[in-house]
Amino acid sequence: MGVAHQRRLAGAPLKRPALVPLPSAVSTPRASAWSRLRVAVSGVCVLSTFACDAPTASRPKPAFAPTTLTGGVLYRWESGTTIRVWVVNSPPSAAPLDLGLATRQAIERWNAVAAFREFTLKSATRIDEAQIIIYDGVAALPVSVGTCGFNPRGAAGYTYFCPGTAAVGAIPRAEILPLSQDGPGLTTVVIRLDRGRVSNQSSYNAIVAHEFGHALGIGAHSDLPTDVMFGLPTAETPSERDRATLRWLLGQHPALVL
């Protein structure tokens, strides 16, 4: 270091433009070095302070316990999953209730709840790529049910999935429900509607939205009628309470993956 400075200082006047005075700092390189060191270290300190002040976030608390219907088992889709939904056409005589319309609305409204794209509901283009199949009871059951009992018990809406077995230490996954006609498929959840118990499209929309809440991981009913997850649903759009509950459970370790 010292040798280098001497050599450069000795040679510097030869390279200097004749009429340009040197800054005073140049004549004291060691002082300049300390000055720059101080500036650089200050810069590093300031930036590192900012760097550790990263934005943070916390998930909301659930508005109601989301596992009361499942005996405490928290289930949900793997984070980041694109969930494809297939709507089974109802016979023409089943009009005027529109299951496709109700499903599209439910997909749009529940997708808005996933603030970190934990799931994305999308319409399937083929039944064999659908993870969720939704159908009305006027049509035939589109899958072979799993090892669990399939018992709609005359409900206006019914969401069905069946836990499969898993290796020791692994998280169980829901069974794939073989398609009745189109091969094995990817379906793990079936939603059944009963239009015979619904008076109008609005009620139909509310029930479809409610069943999608179950299909996404809310294994419970709310006790407020303003929530989509109320036991006798009339709301078509997830409430703050519905959203808080789903957003909370999307950050929990699942005991069952759909």
């Binding site: 270091m1 280098a4 400075h5 450069r8 510097a12 390279k15 200097r16 433009p17 340009v20 040197l22 800054p23 700092a25 140049v26 390189p29 060691r30 300049s32 070095a33 300390w34 720059r36 060191l37 650089a40 270290v41 810069g43 590093v44 930036l47 590192s48 900012f50 760097a51 550790c52 002040d53 990263a54 934005p55 943070t56 976030a57 916390s58 998930r59 909301p60 508005a63 793997e78 984070s79 980041g80 999953t81 709840v113 603030a115 970190f116 794209r117 934990e118 703050e240 309470r241 519905d242 959203r243 808080a244 957003r247 950050g251 929990q252 370790h253």
Partner: protein, 237 residues
């Protein structure tokens, strides 16, 4: 100790680990600057280069970035992406040059929580910054500079993902870079044609907004500085 204190403590410990590489980089810059700083002060730009605007273009790899940290929500990071930049600069004094740059960087977003990680789409950030560069070292025909930048970022894409969904679209950005190039013999550091390598550490302000705590279903969050590292090649003409 409350759970909030525990979370904050965990975050700070984690934060120290996360930024280790960046701090090493910045410390290296500082030491590099100080080690041979006396060697750069003897040369002034010639009159031909002193007040001329020099254009520059840059292609860079955005090496990563951290946009949200949390113990109770996903961590939001960016993977390797690409960046393009154009700018201009001119000598401000014998030892400094200033200018501006327009940068665009596009990076895939990756979220992780509870042991899993998933794709979050693509984040595109445009920066309009002012720059100030000072020479740091000249040795063996290699010149280095430290470059400070400050300006505004435009966040685009990923608007469906928190915190981008709640943060403002235009937000402040500051950065520190190290620029290394081969100096032409006998020229000042502002000479007008060269290829240089640059490594830059940027901090972008993200404020999820005041409405967060207003309703029950939203995420409670704090504003902060998201970090981003990039490295690239720059050409000046």
């Amino acid at each position: 100790m409350s759970s909030e204190h525990v979370a904050r403590s965990v975050r700070w410990r984690w934060c120290g680990g996360r930024n280790r590489e960046a701090l090493v980089l910045l410390s290296s810059c500082a030491l590099y600057t100080s080690e041979l700083s006396g060697q750069t002060g003897t040369r002034r730009p010639t009159s031909a280069t002193t007040h001329r605007w020099i254009a520059s273009g840059e292609v860079s790899a955005a090496l990563g970035g951290t946009w949200l940290t949390s113990t109770t929500a996903p961590t939001v990071r960016t993977d390797i992406g690409v960046g393009l930049s154009v700018g201009a600069h001119r000598a401000l004094s014998a030892r400094t040059r200033g200018g501006f740059a327009l940068r665009v960087q596009s990076q895939p977003l990756r979220l992780s929580e509870a042991g899993t990680s998933w794709d979050g789409g693509t984040l595109t950030v445009g920066d309009l910054v002012g720059t100030l560069a000072v020479p740091a070292l000249r040795a063996g025909g290699i010149q280095s500079e430290v470059e400070i930048s400050s300006g505004l970022s435009l966040l685009a894409g990923a608007r469906g993902i928190y915190p981008f969904s709640s943060a403002g679209t235009i937000t402040p950005v500051i950065g520190l870079g190290a620029n290394v190039f081969r100096a032409a013999p006998g020229s000042g550091h502002t000479h007008n044609r060269r290829l240089s390598m640059i490594v830059r550490y940027d901090l972008i302000r993200l404020d999820p907004g005041p409405t967060l705590a207003a309703s029950q279903d939203t995420f409670s969050g704090t504003a902060g500085w998201a970090s981003r590292i990039s490295a690239g090649l720059r050409v000046h003409r």
